[in-house]
């Protein structure tokens, strides 16, 4: 099952590497968001620094959701999702493969947005690189897992573009909040590693719980 999942993930990543469409547009979009936020705040350095974690996670939320929509749209263009579900691979492999590919994609966007934030808003995001990487990675994984379930289920639905955020944001809220608070603990004037670790475990448990739930009900959601 995992073998097929990697094959599907690899196919997705290969397509993305060739066209680079999602990565480039989302990275640019993320950068634009950072620029807009930069103007939204007064020149007060403390206020800006305090808002950086929120900006990071809002950007990940927006870009992640659009990337999900776009990536699954590709499977809709030529009805290839139907072909995937029809093939003899376990349907969970389709889910896992997609989730892996989306995680990589969202991480790719984060790799662009985080340094830009550090640069334009003078935020000390790299003081604790390992912790930050862990928080962003678990966050991206959570978005990818939950997002893949619903993007696949919504594939044939009406209004799917706007319904994807409607469905995802209430469910992902704990993830965004945990990510924000964890990042804040690292970036604030007196960094508090204990709090950061607390939120890191929160994210880990969240990801684990929702991964298990997704594996359990993916097939019943996606088959009509």
């Amino acid at each position: 099952m995992l073998g097929h999942a990697f094959r599907i993930a690899w196919k997705d990543l290969r397509i993305e590497v060739r066209s680079k469409e999602i990565f480039m547009t989302m990275a640019f979009f993320g950068a634009l968001l950072v620029v807009i936020y930069s103007f939204a705040f007064p020149a007060d350095a403390a206020a800006v620094r305090g808002s950086v974690p929120g900006i990071l996670w809002v950007s990940l939320a927006f870009t992640g959701t659009i990337a999900l929509g776009r990536a699954f749209d590709r499977e809709r263009e030529n009805d290839t999702m139907r072909a995937l579900l029809l093939s003899p691979v376990p349907r969970l492999s389709v889910f896992i493969g997609k989730a892996i590919a989306m995680t990589v994609l969202i991480l790719g966007v984060a790799v662009i947005v985080v340094p830009l934030l550090a640069l334009w808003l003078n935020a000390p995001l790299f003081d604790y690189p390992l912790e930050l990487a862990a928080i962003v990675a678990t966050g991206a994984l959570g978005i990818a897992v939950v997002g893949s379930v619903f993007a696949a289920t919504l594939l044939k639905a009406r209004s799917r573009d706007v319904l994807l955020p409607v469905v995802l944001y209430p469910i992902l809220l704990p993830l965004f909040v945990a990510g924000t608070k964890g990042t804040a603990a690292l970036v604030q004037v007196h960094p508090n590693l204990e709090i950061a670790h607390y939120w890191m475990s929160f994210l880990g448990i969240y990801d684990a719980a929702f991964l298990v739930l997704s594996l359990w009900i993916f097939e019943s959601l996606v088959i009509e």
Partner: protein, 236 residues
């Protein structure tokens, strides 16, 4: 993997919200036959095809797949099903070869069959390594057919395959299907193009508002006039 030789559809029903797509449809498909699934738009043909292809879960009834007398389930069934639809089922960013190699990997077939499948449908050699989104409609159609045939399915489902094909293309596809049928494949075609399947169809099933209103397999092969007659008498 055991080749399917019989599919028994028993009192299958399906509802989408407030809409009834299928009700109490029973049908038997046997090897070496071509079944034409006819009916107006919205009669339930695509839904029935969805149920047979395991992509749609019926609200009631069962579908049983048999191979040599034993019942087959799950992935064993899916490995034997081929699908040819109006969409190409292929990724535009990948080339023909890459698309088919991907499919081969999913179905556990050696990639050596890829070139043969492309030859069988006559896809231009120079195009095989170009991204599929650069293909013309005719080439995409061939690619889609190669994809369906690559896995050597024993149950081939076709959803409006003749739409958008020119006369020559339709004739060629019709011949392919005839050959497959003689080979023992179970072929099910949903189409409005009666001319293209005339002379090869030996089993006719007509749906109206989700119910099977007519089913016949008396003659060896139905010609165009017989098909048209059956359709006009039952589909409305």
């Amino acid at each position: 993997m055991g080749r399917l030789d019989r599919v028994q559809i028993e009192k299958v029903g399906k509802r989408y919200g407030t809409e009834r797509a299928l009700a109490g449809v029973s049908l038997e498909l046997t090897r070496g036959s071509m079944c034409a699934l006819l009916g107006h738009n919205g009669a339930g043909k695509t839904t029935l095809l969805g149920v047979v292809s395991t992509l749609v879960r019926p609200d009631g009834g069962t579908v049983t797949y048999e191979s040599g007398g034993t019942v087959v389930k799950g992935e064993g069934v899916r490995g034997q099903i081929g699908l040819l639809a109006h969409a190409s089922l292929c990724y535009g960013e990948l080339s023909a070869v890459e698309n088919l190699e991907f499919v081969a990997g999913l179905y556990g077939i050696p990639t050596s069959g890829v070139v043969a499948a492309l030859d069988q449908v006559g896809l231009d050699k120079r195009a095989r390594d170009r991204a599929a989104r650069t293909y013309s409609r005719g080439m995409l159609q061939r690619l889609a057919l190669a994809r369906a045939l690559l896995t050597k399915p024993s149950l081939l489902l076709l959803d409006e395959p003749f739409t958008g094909l020119d006369r020559d293309g339709a004739i060629a596809l019709g011949e392919q299907l005839g050959a497959l049928k003689s080979d023992g494949t179970i072929v099910v075609v949903v189409t409005h193009d009666l001319e293209a399947i005339a002379g090869r169809t030996d089993h006719v099933a007509i749906l109206r508002r989700g119910k099977l209103v007519c089913e016949e397999r008396d003659r060896g092969a139905y010609n165009y006039d017989q098909l048209k007659d059956l359709y006009h008498r039952n589909a409305a």
